[in-house]
């Protein structure tokens, strides 16, 4: 065993090992989708072949790397799939469950291998289960197998005599133990697969082959197409992209500075050739920088399909566990967003989809009683909206019962009974984000512990996102998450507070209003305004950040920037609105470190450094102090 581990630790093998991991994960991702799909269309031969090939590829590479356990598990999976694709057995729930189990085991095993570089994972249980199933299938289907086998021989005979040998092999093994059977099965698969692979690599031989191989099934053509794909992409280390983005960020700052100089020069040397030339060059640089920035950002963009694709399986498992009938509709999976966001958005979505199924969709009987179709629908969609991406999770379930939430919140001591009656519908919805809140009658492994929505809120706030809930009893619930496209370069709203200019990230900004001073009310020590039926707490940035209250400027009107943090809304009191600008977030450096309420700083066109606010943290800080 130790020899095999050495292979993975061998520096010369690192590159191969890494590409094995990347490739395997890609295959697994696709496999996840395919497996759920095959359950719906069990007689799709092409799809079955594709799944089979995925297992086969993983088995092959893991064998090469000496990953015995992985090879064994994939091998069993492959055996089962082989029977399916040859039509020896028909897909049923038991087989499907086992295939999914083997998929899960493979996935876990790959994770362990990546982390520890060894197969520190117990596969005995899954192997036993798979072996049992295989044995069962073998015994039951023996006669069918014989027939199929001869057919197989016919189709491949024209190619190579090798198949004859394998057929013999197989016949001889029928009486042997299960283990031996699977071994020889492997050989058959191997020998059948070889011409397939040759075909992919040698295009010249293709036409010839097709002639001699006319009655072979369509699978070979399919694999051919499959092999041709993906040639015009390259894998790039994320770090290199990060560096590139960094340089572009600097360039954006330079561009801003140039624009400022251009304005100044334009005033000083108005009408001269040099100022016209400068203006033109500035415009050109401006345009090119913007384009470069977009192009670089695009390289970091990943299709949200990467996240969405995990859901069909999740929905399948959950609906089975909970006895619901749910179809998942995925829309806009081609929408792209920054890699960092992709990584962070997965967990919140998992929680939300779980909630939709567990709390939203009713049992088929209940749905029937309500006159709804028994099959519930959860829709997961993504779309672009300006510099934001909107992700929504919608279900046609029972909706959020505001009364039940109120009751629960009072019972849990989250709000007082008096206060509960004053809350708007939206405010009540937002209560579900409170930590420890759960309306589930009992705690299941799906939900009820009351941490899920808290996670959603925290993660979304971290990404400077906004959450909106729309819900109607018995119609369904829609949760909308609005996220910025990228984190490094942001659109900012420049505002002035007490002599300092600060940047409010524009994607947190919902609107800017001007209210007469007389309409600012005080609730206890907090100021607030009434904005379209809901009460908006006001935040004094001077006080929150600089620890001083400068309120000597008594004007009749107060500008209020309405910002959203996850599900909550606040108003920031500002003295002056300066404008909107694209800014690059620069950290304050390790010496100053992280300051609550400040996301970083940026350099303006005139060379001045301004602070970029982190609204979520700032509000948190105030809440802690309050």
């Amino acid at each position: 065993m130790s020899d095999e581990f050495n292979i993975l630790n061998d520096p010369e093998m690192q590159e191969i090992f890494q590409s094995f991991l990347v490739e395997t994960k890609e295959i697994l991702e696709q496999l996840d989708l395919d497996l759920v799909e095959i359950e719906k269309r069990p007689d799709d031969v092409d799809l079955l072949n594709q799944i089979f090939r995925s297992f086969h590829t993983i088995k092959g590479t893991s064998g090469f790397l000496g990953l015995e356990k992985l090879q064994k598990v994939t091998h069993r999976g492959e055996d089962i799939l082989n029977k399916l694709r040859k039509g020896e057995v028909l897909l049923n729930d038991e087989i499907m469950d086992n295939i999914l189990k083997s998929y899960d085991a493979i996935k876990d095993l790959v994770d362990v291998i990546e982390e520890k570089k060894e197969e520190d994972f117990d596969t005995s249980e899954i192997l036993y289960e798979l072996d049992t199933l295989i044995a069962k299938l073998e015994n039951k289907e023996l006669p069918v197998q014989e027939v199929k086998k001869s057919k197989q021989t016919k189709t491949t005979k024209a190619k190579k005599t090798k198949t004859a040998k394998t057929t013999k092999d197989k016949k001889s093994t029928v009486e042997k133990s299960d283990e031996a059977i699977t071994e020889s099965e492997d050989e058959i698969i191997e020998s059948v697969e070889i011409p397939e692979m040759n075909e992919v690599s040698t295009h010249a031989a293709m036409s010839q082959k097709e002639d001699s191989n006319q009655n072979s099934d369509k699978k070979d053509d399919k694999s051919l197409q499959h092999g041709k794909k993906g040639e015009n992409t390259i894998r790039v280390d994320v770090q290199r992209l990060d560096e590139l983005l960094n340089i572009v960020s600097e360039l954006v700052l330079g561009r801003n500075r140039l624009a400022q100089i251009n304005i100044e020069a334009g005033i000083q040397y108005e009408g001269t050739k040099i100022s016209r030339d400068l203006a033109e060059t500035t415009r050109q640089i401006d345009l090119m920088t913007t384009e470069l920035q977009l192009a670089v950002m695009k390289t970091r963009m990943i299709k949200i399909a990467k996240v969405f694709n995990r859901f069909p399986r999740l929905v399948r498992d959950l609906s089975k566990d909970l006895g619901r009938e749910v179809q998942l509709i995925i829309q806009g999976e081609d929408t792209e967003l920054d890699k960092t966001l992709i990584e962070e958005i997965n967990d919140p979505l998992v929680h939300l989809v779980r909630n939709s199924i567990d709390h939203g969709i009713e049992t088929p009987e209940d749905r029937k009683a309500l006159g709804k179709p028994e099959l519930g629908t959860v829709t997961l969609s993504a779309e672009h909206e300006g510099n934001n991406i909107i992700i929504s999770i919608e279900d046609d379930g029972k909706g959020i019962d505001t009364e039940a939430i109120k009751e629960k919140a009072i019972q849990k001591g989250i709000i007082s009974a008096d206060k509960a009656n004053e809350l708007s519908k939206q405010d009540i919805f937002n209560l579900i984000f409170a930590p420890g809140f759960s309306t589930a009658k009992k705690v299941t492994n799906v939900s009820g512990r009351g941490v899920g929505m808290d996670v959603v809120k925290t993660n979304v706030a971290k990404l400077r996102g906004i959450i909106n809930i729309e819900s109607e009893v018995n119609k369904g619930t829609k949760i909308i998450i609005k996220l910025p496209l990228t984190l490094a370069i942001i659109q900012g709203l420049l505002v002035k507070v007490a002599g300092e200019t600060v940047v409010v990230p524009l994607n947190s900004v919902i609107e800017v209003v001007r209210v007469p001073i007389t309409q600012i009310y005080s609730v206890k020590t907090n100021e607030c305004i009434k904005l379209r039926e809901s009460v908006l707490p006001l935040i004094d940035i001077d006080e929150a950040l600089y620890g001083m209250k400068i309120n000597d400027i008594q004007e009749d009107w107060q500008y209020v920037v309405v910002v959203g943090i996850a599900e909550k809304r606040y108003g920031l009191k500002v003295n002056e609105l300066v404008g909107q600008k694209e800014v690059v977030i620069k950290s304050l450096g390790s010496y100053i470190g992280n300051i609550d309420g400040v996301a970083g700083s940026t350099i303006m066109g005139d060379g001045k450094v301004v602070m970029i606010l982190d609204i979520a943290e700032m509000v948190n800080k105030i809440m802690v102090h309050a």
Partner: protein, 163 residues
């Protein structure tokens, strides 16, 4: 300073190259190799919730670096900047930091053997910062260890005190 050390210094006849600057009435020296540049006072942006000796941040040719007011760090009262006020930019342990000083005097070369270990208390500065005192012909020069001035643990302690 013990005899052994003195001997060693005499042997190598080592010269110290220092940048000297003034804060209040005292004159300080720092290793010239640590000093990246010396700038005139420029617009400093306040950093919210930072310790009081952190005056803010400046834009140093596209880099945002923190600026520390040495006066406050040394427990002296804050003073409005004058035309002599300078920002001494130093690179320490990989971070670039600016120090505000009242005025920069000159670049000095002094033989190491005219320096002495600091007395217990000098000019109200916590003696930790001081590596040595140089006896010049007409005055004393306090040699500072800026790394110590900057040392994160200390600044954190201070920050906690001030919160």
């Amino acid at each position: 300073m013990n005899l052994h050390e003195k001997d060693k210094n005499n042997e190598s006849n080592e010269l110290l190259q220092l940048v000297s600057f003034k804060i209040g009435n005292e004159e300080f020296g720092v290793d010239i190799l640590k000093v990246q540049e010396i700038n005139r006072m420029m617009a400093i942006t306040k950093v919210p919730s930072a310790p009081s000796f952190v005056e803010g941040v400046i834009n140093l040719r596209g880099r945002v670096i923190p600026v520390i007011d040495l006066r406050i760090k040394m427990g002296l009262p804050k003073r409005e900047s004058s035309k002599n006020t300078r920002i001494v930019v130093v690179e320490l342990e990989g971070t670039t930091v600016g120090f505000i000083v009242d005025e920069v005097s000159e670049v000095l070369r002094i033989p190491k053997n005219i320096t002495e270990a600091p007395p217990e208390m000098v000019a109200g500065i916590d003696a930790d910062y001081i590596t040595a005192v140089g006896k010049l012909e007409d005055r004393l020069l306090i040699l500072l260890d800026l790394e110590k001035v900057l040392s994160l643990t200390q600044s954190k302690q201070l920050a906690e005190l001030e919160v």
